[in-house]
């Protein structure tokens, strides 16, 4: 009987442990705690799962920005403090729960998130409901600054339509018949729609489009089908590990030797994960550390990130960096932390050279809260000539105003509370 009781107790404890685990509530990791009343910025980005690397890189950029802002007197004379939560890579409910916790219990002043488009959409809805200025650093789905736009939400990274417009001409120049493969969720559909529309305008034909489930490991079947359609260009829109897996397999099949491999958004994180022979193709980088012309600010930013991580910044690092600086610039300009006033100050805000780190003057478009940045179009290379981390060659830089669709076409209507 004694033995029986013991086992029941243990079981009860185990079950309680599981229940606690399932709630996924962890203590937030507070990066900086100085000063009397810091300005808190909540970060709701993935630290576990498939987007861990991207999320961590964004957070690294944020930490550097916070450090720079604090060194220059902070926001309204108060120190900046990042309150970091793990949104997970795919659980939208967790991302929402963390957003609510950051706003309601940690009382953050601003909110940032998320790498995953679906989570970014959900977070932007929470932010609007609770009147919280929110920046989406790296979730690309068009609707975030389109039909689902919110007065509280601003975005650093590009939309699918922007990338499609920027990339359509270079792609059609390579070949008119285009076959698209993309991940079957908000992000993949955004990019595929953006490119399909723009490629037709540029005189190309889309001979086929296939969507595959997020996290697909074997691409042979989909590549066999794409090859059979005999396109000039195979456009691979997969991001993260899916991008690595699909490219690695396409190159093993020798597809890069039979037709042109290309895509839109490519990331250094993906090229680094590929064996040298698979670093091929024509791509768009939203930000790249080794830019063709000497742009003020870039060298300092690269050096700052190298000092803290030992690696060069990626586009993700810059997204996070720009997001934190944007809040600081806007709040210092508005001279208040009031949500509506900060959001109005962000509208039309131009990023200064040391934050922009790119040619031109990126600014937040007032009509849809989308940043209008430059993009870098070029090709991947197996090995950098001077630097092992230089895996991309920028062939041309396109300025935002040339490829961003007019605000009237995005479907965004902002409603500020009255």
């Amino acid at each position: 009987m004694g033995k029986f009781e013991k086992s029941i107790n243990r079981r009860t404890i185990l079950k309680a442990g599981v229940a606690a685990g399932a709630l996924q509530i962890a203590a937030p990791y507070i990066v900086k705690a100085q000063g009397e009343q810091p300005v808190k910025i909540g970060v709701d980005n993935p630290l576990t799962g498939i987007y861990t690397a991207l999320g961590k890189n964004e957070n690294t950029g944020m930490a550097l920005a916070a450090e720079q802002i604090n060194a220059k007197g902070g926001i309204l004379g108060r120190k900046v403090e990042l309150v970091i939560e793990d949104s997970t890579s795919d659980k939208t409910d967790v991302a929402v729960q963390k957003a609510r916790k950051l706003i309601q219990s940690d009382k953050v002043d601003f909110l940032i998130g998320n790498v995953n488009s679906s989570q970014a959409i959900a977070i932007s809805q929470v932010a609007a409901e609770l009147k919280m200025p929110h920046i989406d650093p790296g979730g690309h789905a068009d609707v975030i600054t389109g039909s689902s736009c919110q007065w509280t939400t601003f975005r650093v990274c590009n939309t699918g339509a922007m990338q499609g417009n920027a990339m359509a001409k270079p792609l059609v120049k390579i070949g008119k018949k285009i076959y698209i493969i993309a991940q079957d969720y908000a992000f993949g559909h955004s990019l595929a729609d953006g490119l399909s529309k723009a490629a037709k305008t540029a005189g190309g034909t889309i001979v086929g489009t296939d969507f595959f489930p997020l996290g697909t490991t074997d691409y042979s079947a989909i590549l066999i089908k794409a090859r059979a359609a005999n396109p000039d260009v195979l456009v691979d829109l997969a991001a993260g590990d899916d991008g690595i897996n699909s490219l690695k397999q396409a190159v093993q099949f020798g597809i890069d030797k039979q037709l042109h491999l290309a895509g839109m958004q490519q990331e250094l994180e993906v090229l680094e994960g590929l064996p040298p022979e698979a670093r091929v193709g024509t791509w768009l980088f939203e930000w790249y550390w080794n830019q063709p012309s000497n742009v003020p600010g870039v060298a300092d930013f690269v050096a700052g990130i190298r000092k803290s991580t030992g690696k060069v910044p990626t586009a993700r690092t810059w997204f996070g960096f720009a997001a934190i600086h944007s809040f600081a610039l806007a709040a210092n300009k508005a001279k208040t932390l009031d949500a509506a006033k900060v959001c109005h100050a962000l509208e039309g805000l131009k990023l200064p050279p040391e934050v922009a780190c790119q040619p031109g003057e990126p600014y937040y478009r007032a009509e849809d809260h989308q940043l209008v940045p430059a993009v870098f179009i070029g090709h991947a290379q197996a090995k950098g000539a001077k630097d092992p981390e230089d895996l991309f060659v920028v062939d041309q830089v396109e300025q935002g105003p040339s490829f961003i669709p007019p605000a009237t076409e995005t479907g965004c209507k902002l409603h500020y509370p009255t």
């Binding site: 690397a53 490991t217 074997d218 079947a221 989909i222 066999i224 190159v251 993906v270 994960g273 040298p276």
Partner: protein, 289 residues
Amino acid sequence: MTQVILFNVLNGLIVGAFYALMALGLSLILNLSGVINFAHGGFLALGAYLAYSLAPYLGFWGGLVIAPFLTAALGIIVERVLIRRLYGRDPLYSLLLTFGLAFIFQDGLRYTWGASSVPYQIPGWLGSPLSTSLFFLTGYRVFMVIIVALAVAALFLILGYTRLGIRIRAGTLDLDTVSVLGVNVRVLRNLNFGLGIYLAGLAGVLAAGLLGLSPTIGDQLIMPSFVAIIVGGLGSLPGTLAGGLLIGIAAGLTSVFFPTAQEAIIYVMMALVLMVRPNGLFGDAGRVQ
């Protein structure tokens, strides 16, 4: 179109062979110990990372040979220290344990090797197609199938003709009797667990040649392997093998017509098989795990 379908049937067999390799390891452990090893994907990833770290010293081939053994050694330790304590209890206990282990593996790998994918290189001559018309037949895929075939043949030889193998099979059927006959069941289960984990490590090294090597590499591979076991029938290793090949072909064929459903089809197939044959294709009737 016929050509595309034929391509995909052949290619599905290649993919299925890989699922089968993972599923066989899972199945061995499930059959003898009644443990649903959720940490299998973690062991798989560990095998791959070990091969990656060994490659600069031992080359691709050295990694391929040594890494699975190191993984198996860790498997034997984990069984001895943790899993053994939960035999005979509600299966929920071992399920929770291995579920937790899977997370520990993933974070441990992330801590050691970083969250980003690392480039794992295979010999150049393996990484190109054998012919231009059958371009999906790369040297590496054929090599994978050969290794899987060798591993499966070796596994069935061990199970069929060695004393250890015969005891494992006997234990699968009736562990109590085997124990009464003087076989040390603890050692038997320990070695059997190691054998299953060896297959996971081998699958990991092979997968790393095809996929990006990241801490989550095992996650996407483990569910199809569970389905392979259920489709093939619990308790039947040939069934597991057939189940793996079958879902590979089904996923391949589906992607010709409706790529979005290539993941869902695996589960649809499982449901269909269970409706017609509730014990799976080759499962024993009335077997309770």
